[in-house]
Symmetry: D2
Subunit: 333 residues, 4 copies
């Protein structure tokens, strides 16, 4: 019973159907009709003009976004737990030609305007010190928590005040919006986000993520960087098809709601054990090694989280019976 | 009637079937059973141990291969017409952190040992000059021509004599092997190729290429570089499934033969017009602007090739009727 | 009365003399007799074979050393206060093509084996995480403190145990050795240092630092990197002459002792104010803004250190009268 | 009798004097009074505002200039014989993070507007191809020839027409201006040069070159790049002193005239042997191996130039007797 991650979940049937529907001949790269319609489709979703590029991974989305924003001698402020810091093999340094990450702390992997201000306060602005040029936040965070629109806006205001660009790693953006019940714009661009890695792979797609620029100038350079990094696939229509399928009928939201609900059921089974509020599809709990062994003996798969904890992740295709089984097992510990 | 390129052809039904068969849960990245079986599957094909990584584009395959072979202060010898020089937006410089390309000439986009020797002859080996560290050849070439096993071996010997690694851009490797009628090993590793970009996308796959290392040490660093460049997809099983489907029952060869046959039919219709021998699935012909207009008026799509030429490319899914129609139209000019 | 830094001190007369003595014709770059004698001269100093390259700045020395040790997808463990982190405009990321710095803490800007172990403990060794490949320590530290031979050896042992290379930023290595009273080898290579930025500019030279490799393999690649980064000057004899002048008659030690003595006199004037032990030529003191104003009104120049502190740096050419004047002023506050 | 190169010539007494005059305490890096006066001094020389940075080598000057002009996915058009291509260990690729060099041909290592146009003509402007962003010309060229003001202006007009920046490698700019007898502006910025590597090391300085930006925006980013590449020396006053000494009383012109005159005397001795017009301080001649042996037996040192040629370079400090001796020896062959 798989609660290891949402990153290897099944592909949603509607995504399959859209991909197969795209198999007819069309122009290569992103010149096909589907790729050409992405700006409009996402523009409608966010209620503003945007420029959208498909890429094959969240790492590519995040790092291409940052490469368009940050010069090599500058840096990106991010949380110490951020995926770009912890799990991308230094890809930000590769794509940006050496820009650094300035790590800040914050409960539940959330960044605050104060953290940004504190990171900048000791710096001199001269040629000797590395000055940040962007902030990157994760929505939902690596601790499964969600920035409210007000929190995003506060960070956006802080970023602008410090002349920083704002990137949002939205590998689980859908889960965040499903939790918030707000518009996707309210959870991102309305608050000042310049570029959003709009995650689909963890939410029912196969291998397409949407890199959404709310500032089209950033997209211009990124088109070159996408090619230059080997991410401009020739049969791009299959990438666009995945993204469009996710948007159609708000599949992205429906899938995220299913994953969130499953996580909620698990969390509710042992509320006293929670390490973080459960606002998306990840549940972090205090669990001793003995307890974890007991769960695994019952067939549950999940990652340890430190010496005395565990992480359970649910996906859009979570099996109701397995979720309930896990909840009961946790309650019974 | 599409003869623009093979890069946007349809996905073969067997590839679709294999992808759908891979949708069951498995481990992420390349830890799934299919990805883990690639070394063995390609090892059987080439008759020797190899290490195989899936990537999403030919550019990624080529440049990851080169990045594993070439230090930043060195260079790659390649033909002036090579895809890595002409059509990859400088990706080799990005992946290698600045290594250069040393361009050589040669008929039909073929490199010879003499060309390699001539490129090196004027160089001093000191810290001031850029010394090559690899040769990259394209099989079949950008002019649709094929290196014989003897030619590959001669280049391999030249490379070794100069202490250079040998990369083969095999975007159309299948077409070359289909033409040669030899083993895939004879067309590549037997001749000294260290790393092969084994193309599948132009030959019936969707978005997976196989990067085949005949020296596993090169694969080690490339695993990091693949992740670092955003090319380690989380649902890698869909990538591996495509590659395995291409190998099963030698689908890769059958598809290439079909494409080659179509090209042969077109070439035979106007042999006096050929700019290069037609040995794979690309036909380059002398055609005036007026003649090109006449063909386009009949519904044929293709690229101009210089002021007085045209390029016709066939794919595995070439429609027999359309091919014959083009052949007749050419004959009738 | 200048206590801002030692980085703009005068050039020692013996250095001037050596430079002028080098003006006769000789071979360019580092082919001149003086440059060719560096390995032997430093080899005698350290009592072991070494390969020595002159470069024009401490930043160049540090970053060329790291570039020879660390692959782009790896990282360097260093103190949060390290010069490479704080004052080099991201140069390590530039020279290493994106390798990161993993920051650790420690009193007096000293790193401990425990800090190294703690930095590594949470890491997984897979393609997703950045694994360190080197440690860089500063001797004397940015807080003016000195690693004993035993401390260096402990760090060296820790580095080897974790398969890490060890770099020492010795911008003030002379001051450290002068304090320790040990051999230069005991303070560096005997403890496992692989490459040492042997600082001269702050200690009487004009613009030459010695990059000393105790592993000559590291020097090989660095010769290319020095050229490639524009640091291979054509009249290298003037660079080598500076370094040789520093070694002759142990001028480097005599100069450092003078600077240390001046710092000691200042420290002794107000021992209760010291923020760090004074072991080299930097004095960090608690001083209120009012007190700093009072000192500046008397003509003393120095940097603030936080809101309630100040830093005084002495150089080889410290004026005895000015030092005593500062000591008295501090005592009288 | 040394005619190998001008790159290891002696330091002019006026430069020595200026350096020694700069030894008094001043602010570090380029905050000293001398460094701060460079913009004005060169502004007066060129008759327009400029921003001037000292650096330690021609490679650093050239590559920092290009790094400020060219994005990583673009390229620099230069002559196949250009120093940046032939003798800088790939430094342009390092400083620009992978931008390429597009090589063109031309007699006497001169580039023409036609060569620029021909290089661009076959290119498509899309994300697949590398488009140039700058032209770099060498004044005087690597063949010892000089662009007239009209030729520079024609290239400048061509560059602007193609939206390219123009860099001039002026390692021997002084020799070119001495030959032309025009203003330095006429030989550079009046014709559209955006950045000039104003060479001093080959012309009497020790280790300081002037990087002159006629567009101050380019200097802004270069200040960071200079630091980031380890080229911001802390005792910058000694660098500025060298440059100012070269300008004072037009020492740079006087020195260049002396070197040119010596080259002229050598050239006049065997005009039938000249491979290129002798317009600066380099003489390229047809000389058989036997003839070269005969010269070397008489004590003359010089480089072979291909199988049947030789290069003689004169410097500001050429010994009149030695020059005459060489001229006689050549005449007597």
């Amino acid at each position: 019973m798989p609660f290891l991650s949402d990153n290897a979940a099944a592909v949603h049937p509607a995504v399959w159907a859209a991909m197969q529907g795209a198999d007819g001949a069309d122009r290569p790269y992103d010149n096909d009709a589907l790729s050409q319609s992405l700006d409009e489709a996402f523009g409608a979703l966010f209620g503003r003009e945007c420029a959208v590029l498909w890429v094959a991974s969240g790492t590519a989305a995040n790092c291409l976004a940052l490469a368009g924003m940050v010069q090599p001698h500058r840096a990106v402020i991010c949380h110490r737990a951020a995926h770009i810091q912890v799990d991308e093999c230094g890809a930000p340094g590769f794509f940006t030609h050496g820009a650094g990450l300035m790590l800040v702390d914050g409960d539940h992997a959330l960044i605050t305007p104060e953290a940004i201000a504190n990171a900048i306060a000791p710096l001199r602005r001269d040629v000797h010190q590395v000055w940040p040029q962007a902030v990157s936040i994760t929505q939902a965070t690596e601790a499964g928590c969600v920035y409210t629109p007000a929190q995003v806006a506060a960070i956006g205001a802080s970023a602008r005040a410090h002349d920083l660009r704002l990137h949002m790693d939205g590998a689980r953006f859908a889960n965040a919006v499903a939790f918030l019940g707000c518009t996707p714009a309210a959870a991102s661009c309305d608050g000042g986000v310049d570029a959003l890695s709009f995650g689909c792979v963890k939410n029912g797609a196969m291998n397409a993520e949407a890199l959404v620029f709310f500032d089209s100038h950033l997209a211009d350079i990124t088109r070159y960087n996408r090619k230059r990094s080997g991410h401009l696939q020739s049969k791009g229509r299959f990438m666009a098809a995945q993204l469009l399928a996710m948007l159609r009928g708000d599949l992205w939201l429906a899938n995220a709601r299913a994953a969130n609900a499953a996580a909620g059921e698990i969390a509710a089974a042992a509320p006293g054990r929670l390490l973080h509020p459960v606002q998306a599809n990840e549940v972090f709990m205090t669990l001793t090694a003995t307890e974890r062994d007991a769960l695994r003996a019952q067939g549950f798969a999940f990652y340890d989280w430190g010496a005395d904890g565990a992480r359970f992740v649910t996906a859009w295709d979570a099996d109701a019976g397995e979720v309930t089984a896990l909840a009961r097992a946790l309650a019974g510990l």
